[in-house]
Symmetry: C2
Subunit: 527 residues, 2 copies
């Protein structure tokens, strides 16, 4: 595919007139062609108008057609072939196997949502039949299903150029819900974005949908993003990125005359708790696994293990020593953008300079001028961690702090002081079960996912996945941005009272022609 | 029960020191004894501390015990006997049959949520078994369930002194979810609140729960309410009241260091659309039913029909004439409080004085000095309605505006211009089906409940009920405050990865000992 640098507005494309953006190869510092034209507020307005117009026909499609559309997107992305992988590699510095895997995940989640549409469970259909003879008053016929919210704005993430970008989880779940999507492409991978955006455009055309179902704009500033969230025709937004960026857009979403849901996945340090028996049994085995998770993808995962919690003692010393060795051996890793690399470097230097923090180990240093991150492992006493809230903040990249807790009581105080997290991991042996059981109720209130004897970096796209969590890990801990439950973010329930059979949506008609599971008079019934 | 005027803080009670509140009989203007002491911020702090402390043990209860607790509350409310009804009548001016019905609804919804707990569907349990042999990477074992958010603040509503107050829908659904509740009693019925609050306290004691599970405070200002929503231990809030009050508290909830969900049910004019064939067939039959719904409970329902939309013509003239006659016959009705009565009167006078609005009819006028509302029916041209946003605002009480649309296109423009609503009603005959089908997609985006050939005033407590709707009818259109789905407001999903069987919550253990429905590998399975 020949890249044009154009905005994709509905079925059309044109070069944006609000400045230019170019991709940069972070491995070489080389600027990549072509230039991408930035969107104006008029472009946002047109995309929103088209999305609003498309919503009427798009949401009315049979669910089977919507499923076919998601599958068509997956096919069109696959048809981009190796050109896509080559461009993503150039724009992100991420290695081929990772990106091939990420492409598989991206098309996999589109197909997963096709299955969700065919299953129909997302409709949460309910039927309470009339009781005309009930005393003192008859009961009306009541039926309920979920309907889509309306056009959704999606902000592409820098760290998942495929799986959380133009055709990523937010787009897939919003399109599955019946919502047109307007993507604000991440300026770190504009070429990748154009390729995937054109694949979606092609799928829209091949299924014969209203072209306003999908638009994509470029912008490297904030104003256009804010205009997109503020547009009255946009009814929800999905975002993965920094806490500062997420909170700024959240404020726009809440400050509108009609506030809208804004789903930001923002900030998490993903504590890993090493329980005593596990530490005693396998400190030196856990350590390299931890460092592998820490340094995976240059540490640029939302679920990167940024905090280790354990009770102090010789077993923890052994863990720290082994982890330190592994960190020292970790090669310098190209980071996604010069800006991310600089922010990581500043975050690490702040920890190096903090008097209460011990620098355990630094990884290999990259060549001067390269946009590489140098892994870092720190340690700090539990008391000092409790006293300094800055140590609770995410440093995006391969940096982690071991918190040496004086005893179990201090460990519990440290856990209680944690902010909301995407994940919390427990390393445990059977002898730790009693302690783990005591900690679990608190962990459930702190994180969206709790995992045992592993690290949070692999986020399975599944039915039982929660990639979300209490504030500030996300702006809305009642949801997930990964997995089939993500569709619920873009739906709301509507109740229908005494509608004639002819006017009921198919999923609520008495003979259940779509064969969806329904809750009838409070009892769940399969088709 | 001897009323004391005390705050109920956990299992204790004491007289509040922040001013005094007295009930007023709106029918007589008579002040009611005793005085109720207002809460200080220190009282809020103590209630929140107790709720936080109680949360740990309360959420860990077997669901069966939680169900028993809800049933015990219902029994203790019933045991208050006629004393309760007599006090509510005195404080609200509402008639006995209405209040006996509302008591039945209140205990009924507590028992309904007991059933929800026994069913287990609210847990949304999901299991994705491990696939250790999957290539290229094994799939972990993933399981998901909903957990409660934490202590919930509930603001009692003036217009449902039982069903949306101390032991009302918000309290029942929050307690069912596993959340301790702190109620801010509505100052219009403090005695009713104390009686019901003490019934809950007695149920807490009889089931042997931590007393922090329930507290209730009095206050007639804003500061204490704001302190309650701002308290870091409070994790969600439910509110039914005015748009101004709801938005003020919503801003507090969003402005916290850790924002929380704030579910405000605020403002709705509940349009009733009379389609042509229905109007032709039975204009004069619909009219008295409409006026009965309009004047029910002095019009003080969130779902009161404040707007009639129809295409102009002789059939609409007939409807307006018949409705006007019925309004003229409507007796003056005691309103809930002098303040509500005054606000209604101001709202009606503004419509009377609006040059584009025609006063069709006024109901009977009450005695001078009585806190009675005089029903009012107005009409306005579609064009004028479109041009004046003030005509879209709720006048809380028995006032309604008939919008005479020039033609179907104008009717559609008027519908498109509506704000979010709790309900929209359609009156139709079979000949109207095509038009109704064309309107329905828009109506679904405007309202939480769509009903046919009726009025929204009866809100059935059911599985398929949505009492909610797009902003500004509520602050969060993704939810309902009536019916079993209301429990979802106080829950969030947590995913468990590779947990040993011994550490899994019962509903996620492999052999499903609680017998709950679960989604296994994406397929819904009954127990």
């Amino acid at each position: 595919m020949q890249l044009t640098g154009e905005l994709l507005i509905g079925g059309d494309s044109r070069f944006g007139t609000n400045g230019e953006i170019k991709g940069v190869n972070p491995a070489t510092g080389q600027t990549l062609e072509p230039a991408f034209g930035g969107a104006t507020k008029a472009d946002v307005d047109q995309a929103a108008a088209l999305a609003h117009e498309a919503f009427a026909s798009y949401r009315a499609l049979p669910y089977e057609t919507r499923a076919t559309f998601l599958e068509a997107i997956a096919e069109h992305i696959e048809a981009l072939g190796d050109d896509l992988i080559v461009r993503v590699m150039a724009e992100t510095g991420l290695p081929r196997p990772r990106l091939e895997g990420e492409r598989g995940r991206t098309v996999g989640q589109l197909r997963l949502f096709a299955g969700v549409l065919r299953d129909g469970g997302f409709l949460e259909a309910r039927v309470d039949p009339a009781q005309p003879d009930r005393k003192p008053l008859p009961r009306p016929d009541l039926r309920l299903r979920n309907v889509p919210l309306g056009p959704v704005a999606v902000f592409g993430a820098s760290n998942f150029p495929l799986a959380f970008s133009v055709a990523g989880g937010d787009t897939a779940s919003a399109l599955a819900a019946g919502c047109p999507v307007i993507v604000k492409a991440h300026p770190a991978h504009p070429g990748t974005s154009e390729m995937v955006g054109r694949a979606i455009q092609a799928a829209v055309a091949s299924v014969g949908l209203h072209p306003g179902v999908f638009s994509m704009i470029h912008d490297s500033g904030y104003e256009v993003s804010q205009a997109l969230v503020a547009d009255p025709r946009v009814k929800a937004a999905g975002f993965t990125g920094s806490r500062r960026g997420g909170l700024a857009l959240l404020a726009v979403a809440q400050g509108r005359p009609e506030p809208i849901p804004f789903y930001a996945e923002m900030s998490s340090i993903n504590p890993v708790i090493l329980l005593p028996a596990a530490l005693e049994a396998r400190a030196e085995k856990i350590a390299p696994d931890f460092v592998a998770a820490l340094t995976l993808g240059a540490g640029q995962f939302c679920t990167n293990p940024g905090l280790i919690l354990a009770i102090d003692g010789p077993e923890l010393d052994a863990f720290v020593a082994a982890a330190g060795q592994a960190v020292e051996a970790a090669p310098a890793a190209v980071m996604l953008t010069p800006g991310i690399c600089q922010a990581f470097s500043h975050g690490v230097e702040a920890l190096v300079g903090a008097p209460e923090v011990t620098t355990v180990a630094r990884g290999q240093k990259g060549a001067d001028g390269s946009h590489t991150g140098q892994a870092a492992l720190f340690s700090v006493a539990g008391q000092a961690f409790l006293a300094n809230p800055h140590l609770h903040e995410e440093v995006f990249g391969a940096a982690s702090i071991v918190v040496r807790c004086a005893d179990q009581a201090e460990l519990e105080r440290v856990i209680a002081a944690l902010e909301g997290q995407l994940t919390i991991a427990l390393h445990l042996e059977e002898a730790d079960h009693a302690l783990a059981a005591a900690l679990l109720p608190t962990l459930e209130l702190k994180a969206g996912r709790i995992l045992v004897n592993g690290f949070g970096t692999g986020v399975e796209v599944a039915n039982a996945m929660v990639h979300g969590g209490p504030f500030p890990s996300t702006s809305d801990g009642r949801t997930t941005s990964v997995g089939t439950l993500a569709i619920a973010r873009f739906l709301r329930p509507v109740s229908y009272q005494n509608l004639p059979e002819a006017l009921l949506p198919a999923e609520l008609k008495t003979d259940n022609p779509l064969g969806v599971a329904r809750r009838v008079d409070g009892k769940l019934k399969l088709a």
